[in-house]
């Protein structure tokens, strides 16, 4: 039995190890190396347990291919984040690097549990665990005024969202009596649907919308992305999105009967989110804030896939969110390198990057274009699958609006790429790029182009995961 939940246990032990390391004066480099080493072990263990299958703790905790693959992505994401937080990180984090890693690992633990929780209380608590750790991580840059402000905003909006979710759930719970999602699905089959249940369900979704930064609760994203340090923002933007999608996938699978014919509201939410994200992103002058709005828009596209309540919709969303992780992380990596070099994350900081770091600017360009949904890259293929599953349900206008949105997104992504390519840099000498960053850039370029042109491997994996999820 232990082997099944080995990844969770190991992550917790690693987190505790880093907690203890805070007491001994261990240098930052060793901590960084051990962090990298631990996350690699984590990945291997998950790979080892990828094909296991089982139901534990009286049916509240499911280990299957879907949950294990989500954990694998989370572990890989964590590895990327730690490898990005190298020695040139802000010194407030460097001072208590042990706690920083502790919070990262515990947040990752929360997300892992989130993906295999089958019952509301476990699900909600692991969601709260990952949110609370992120509240602290956002506020980690103690010497900066804006990170405290971002932290407090993040916390309050999170608190209100979770309070509303609990209220929504209390109403739903009174109908079904049992907290496990399976009971809800069976209960809802033959139960006359009245208005309170539906309203309760919408309120129930607010915490998950908050997690994915979907419209009603997405206003925190710009301030938090800008306020937090770039590593933490990268973590929030990529890994927590994957977890959010995983939990929504699971919820929508079980809540399908209730929502069979009521997805109009969710489509409206996704359109609003897309348009809001894209329209405001056009204005932004600061990179991280721009990426915040772009991630809101991307969340809108993902919601379209989720809301289709059919296998193809869900598998394409999973495909898209994985691709999104790689694309977004590449962009954040480049921003991080530029911020470490220039100290500012303004749009103009990227000026003349193509002269000073051709590889980085190429990977940035490809990632941005792929985020914008430009064909040969993986972003387009992801959108293509999502929108073809949407159109299979006959939502032509939704698809047209989505495509027009991605046209607007191409505009502001090109605004960023233009800084790198069209302007001459101030300093002449080449930017020094460490080997791991270079390796990652090559990986991301290959991933974006190959998966864009020949998406079969990633798509088959996504479909297999969804089969396990639904099956």
């Amino acid at each position: 039995m232990i082997i099944y939940i080995l990844p969770e246990i190991l992550t917790f032990l690693m987190a505790v190890f880093f907690l203890l390391s805070a007491f001994k004066k261990i240098s930052m480099e060793t901590l960084h190396k051990t962090g990298m080493f631990f996350s690699i072990i984590n990945i291997l263990i998950i790979l080892f347990t990828i094909n296991l299958n089982g139901l534990f703790f009286y049916g509240t905790y499911k280990i299957d291919f879907f949950s294990q693959s989500i954990k694998f992505i989370l572990a890989v994401g964590l590895f990327f984040i730690i490898f990005m937080a190298d020695k040139r990180i802000e010194n407030t984090i460097k001072k208590n690097y042990g706690e920083f890693l502790f919070f990262l690992f515990s947040s990752n633990l929360g997300m892992m549990m989130l993906s295999s929780a089958l019952e509301f209380i476990t699900l909600f608590l692991s969601l709260e665990l990952s949110s609370y750790t992120m509240f602290v991580l956002v506020g980690f840059l103690k010497n900066k005024k804006i990170s405290a402000e971002a932290g407090i905003k993040y916390l309050f909006i999170g608190a209100v969202a979770s309070a509303l979710t609990l209220y929504g759930y209390s109403i739903i719970f009174s109908y079904f009596g049992d907290t496990s999602l399976q009971a809800m699905r069976i209960g809802s089959m033959f139960m006359m649907k009245d208005v309170i249940l539906y309203i309760g369900f919408i309120f129930f979704l607010t915490a998950f919308f908050f997690k994915l930064a979907i419209l009603p609760f997405s206003f925190w994203a710009p301030d938090v992305y800008q306020g937090a340090s770039t590593n933490v923002t990268a973590y929030i933007a990529t890994v927590s999105k994957v977890a959010g999608v995983a939990v929504l996938l699971r919820i929508f699978v079980y809540f399908f009967p209730i929502f069979a014919d009521q997805e109009k509201i969710l489509i409206l939410i996704s359109i609003l989110t897309m348009t809001f994200g894209n329209l405001v992103a056009v204005q932004q002058k600061e990179l991280k804030r721009l990426l915040a709005y772009s991630s809101i828009a991307q969340a809108g596209y993902m919601l379209v896939g989720l809301v289709m309540f059919n296998k193809s919709g869900m598998s394409s969303t999973l495909f898209y969110v994985t691709a999104y992780l790689v694309m977004n992380f590449t962009v954040f990596l480049v921003i991080d390198q530029v911020e470490k070099e220039k100290g500012s994350t303004e749009l103009t900081a990227l000026k003349g990057l193509s002269q000073r770091a051709p590889l980085l600017s190429l990977s940035l360009l490809l990632a941005l274009l792929s985020l914008g949904g430009v064909p040969p890259f993986v972003g387009f293929t992801g959108k293509w699958f999502i929108f073809s599953s949407a159109i299979n349900k006959g939502y032509l206008t939704l698809v047209l609006i989505a495509f027009l949105n991605s046209v607007i997104s191409v505009y502001y992504y090109l605004l960023v790429a233009r800084q790198a390519y069209l302007f001459m840099p101030d300093e002449k000498e080449k930017m020094k790029v460490t080997v791991p960053v270079r390796v990652y850039s090559y990986f991301s370029i290959v991933f974006i182009i190959v998966m864009g042109f020949y998406p079969a491997p990633l798509l088959n994996w996504a479909e297999k995961a969804i089969r396990y999820l639904v099956g």
Partner: protein
């Protein structure tokens, strides 16, 4: 492929081969490319003469096609048509072209772009021959356009001269405007009839399928093209300006061949045109009007080439009128004879200009020494006599044929107008002769006197004068072709009509009297010792102004382009920039930007505003959801 067709194909191909050779290989060696061009055109001429002598007494039309373009309900064919009319025209084109090629050897000595010049001449000859042998209206249009392009290139040969460039542009655009009519007529025929072969077109009047109204419309459209190319009244303004080009070019293109293309086309499609009486009336009227207008303007011209240009327009008007009146043989006969003596006149003018380096006849007169140029002046006089219609010369017989045609077809008023025009023609041609021959002021006025000292009079080199002599011979002898002397050979050749026509003495006498009146009137005004400077037209104030300004046609076009076309274009451009681009495209772009700016100003960082908006949106969604 019958013998004739093979010959005809080779005649057409020779200039094309020379064009390719010059273009590809001999571009940089001027002399060599000149030789290649002359060689090619001489081969064509020899073959043409062989073709002619093989079919001395005319032949039934032989046609050979090859598929050029297949579309669903008809196939567009190219090919070679050989019949008496086309043989005659080939002969004329080849002979004149050959002589002009030889003449240019001398005239264009030392020109920078000589190989380019000969390339364009070969292009022109090829295009003209393609046009002449074309069995279908489409191929005619094909040759027609190429001829227009060649004339543009040749007029603009000295492109560094702004006036030449302006003239070339005007010529091309105006003929192109005419071609628009031709193209529309062609399109309608292609769509309605489907097959535009000439023998089909000529029999169009008979087949019931096609409504007469339609024939008239297409005939008028095609005639619009002819008006452009053969410089009929409204669209004639480009021909006088086209004199900017080298004189051999003017001789070949703007006297003998290109401008005659329109006449040839009417002759070729005579059956089609005569199918609609209204069209024939219109053509005749336009012809006679052009002829009269051009003749009057020629009275006041001082530039030697301009006089010739207006006389060409006037003679073309006559031919068009003749054909319009139904005189098929008359029009064609005058076309051939006019080609020879007008080419002769132009080449003489060319040798004068070459010698005196000025176009103005008064300056030539002052410089004196015109008499020294023995051959040039004698051939000039022969040419003028032919043009004026003096009995033994070609002009007399061809103009007489036209007068007879008017007579026969009952167009008496036209006949009298033609007589008036031939009076004017005689007057202005001999006005030029007498001005040139008039002695200088200070010397004794007897016009045979040698002794003008400063004229270094020697004639143009051999290669310029020989063509003059040949053309002079043609101008003299060609007239007799139609007379009983050679028992109506021309009728037999052209229409293979065998009975010999008796001479119409009454018409001949009238035209001779008019010729005498004209020449004496000119003599009195110019050749006399007083040596007046103005003719009768220049004396009358308003007439002089009208004629010098060429009936204000040029100004009309100037106003049309400046006042109408440019403003319309700039309005459209303004619409494109402001309306479609700035408001339409940028407008939608700005909507996106401003709405984005508005929302981002909403997000002003206040935590409680975020929470407020989130909850408001949430409740709105919930209420909205209950309603939909």
């Amino acid at each position: 492929m019958s013998e004739n067709i093979k010959l005809a194909t080779w005649i057409v191909l020779c200039p094309f081969i020379s064009l390719l050779l010059i273009g590809a290989i001999t571009r940089s060696y001027k002399k060599l490319s000149a030789l290649v061009a002359i060689l090619a055109i001489s081969i064509s001429t020899i073959l043409a003469t062989i073709l002619y002598f093989k079919n001395l007494y005319g032949l039934t039309p032989q046609v050979h096609y090859f598929e050029w373009l297949i579309t669903d309900y008809f196939s567009l064919k190219f090919g070679i048509l050989v019949d008496s009319l086309s043989i005659g025209m080939i002969m004329v084109v080849c002979i004149v072209s050959l002589l002009v090629h030889i003449y240019s050897w001398g005239y264009m000595e030392g020109e920078a772009g000589l190989s380019r010049y000969y390339a364009w001449l070969s292009l022109f000859s090829w295009a003209m021959l393609v046009f002449v042998v074309s069995p279908t209206l489409l191929q005619a249009f094909f040759g027609w356009e190429l001829v227009g392009a060649a004339s543009f290139l040749l007029i603009g040969f000295w492109y560094y001269k702004p006036e030449a460039a302006q003239a070339a542009r005007k010529a091309f655009v105006m003929t192109r405007f005419g071609d628009f009519g031709f193209f529309v007529g062609l399109l309608i025929l292609l769509v309605v009839v489907g097959n535009v072969d000439f023998h089909v077109l000529n029999k169009l009047g008979t087949n019931m399928g096609v409504s007469p109204k339609l024939i008239t419309m297409t005939a008028l459209f095609i005639f619009m093209g002819i008006m452009g190319k053969s410089a009929q009244f409204p669209l004639h303004a480009w021909l006088p300006d086209a004199m900017e080009g080298p004189t051999p070019v003017s001789a070949l293109i703007h006297a003998a061949t290109m401008v005659a293309a329109g006449i040839y086309l009417i002759a070729r499609a005579f059956g089609f045109f005569s199918a609609s009486p209204f069209a024939m009336e219109f053509i005749a009227a336009v012809g006679i009007l052009t002829s009269f207008v051009a003749a009057t303007i020629a009275l006041v011209q001082n530039d030697v080439k301009k006089i010739m240009a207006y006389s060409t327009i006037s003679q073309l008007g006559l031919m068009v009128a003749a054909l319009g009146a139904g005189g098929y043989k008359a029009g064609v006969f005058h076309l051939f004879s006019h080609a020879f003596f007008k080419a002769l006149l132009f080449l003489c003018a060319g040798s004068l200009i070459h010698h005196f380096h000025t176009n103005d006849m008064w300056e030539m007169a002052e410089k004196g020494g015109v008499r020294k140029m023995k051959i040039t002046i004698t051939t000039l006089i022969i040419g003028s006599l032919a043009l004026a219609g003096c009995p033994p010369f070609a002009g007399f017989f061809s103009k007489d044929a036209i007068l007879v045609a008017f007579e026969m077809n009952g167009k008496h008023t036209f006949m009298y107008i033609t007589l008036l025009i031939s009076f004017l023609t005689t007057y202005y041609s001999f006005r030029m002769i007498f001005v040139l021959l008039s002695p200088e002021k200070e010397h004794s006025h007897s016009h045979g006197h040698e002794g003008d000292h400063h004229g270094h009079g020697h004639d143009s080199p051999a290669n310029m004068t020989i063509p003059l002599i040949i053309l002079a011979v043609f101008s003299v002898l060609f007239g007799f072709v139609d007379t009983p002397l050679m028992n109506g050979y021309f009728d037999k050749f052209l229409l293979n009509k065998h009975e010999v026509e008796h001479l119409h003495w009454s018409v001949m006498i009238k035209s001779f009297v008019v010729f005498l009146a004209g020449i004496s009137f000119a003599y009195v005004q110019f050749a006399g010792k007083t040596g007046y400077r103005e003719g009768f037209a220049e004396k009358i104030g308003w007439l002089k102004a009208l004629l010098v300004n060429k009936y204000y046609v040029d100004d009309f076009y100037f106003i049309l382009v400046r006042g109408l076309v440019y403003p319309f274009a700039s309005i459209l451009n303004w619409i494109d920039r402001k309306v479609i681009n700035d408001t339409g495209v940028n407008g939608s772009g700005n909507i996106v930007i401003f709405s984005g700016r508005f929302i981002s100003s909403l997000m002003n960082g206040l935590l409680q505003r975020y929470l407020g908006t989130s909850l408001v949106i949430l409740f709105i969604l919930v209420f909205l959801w209950q309603l939909i």
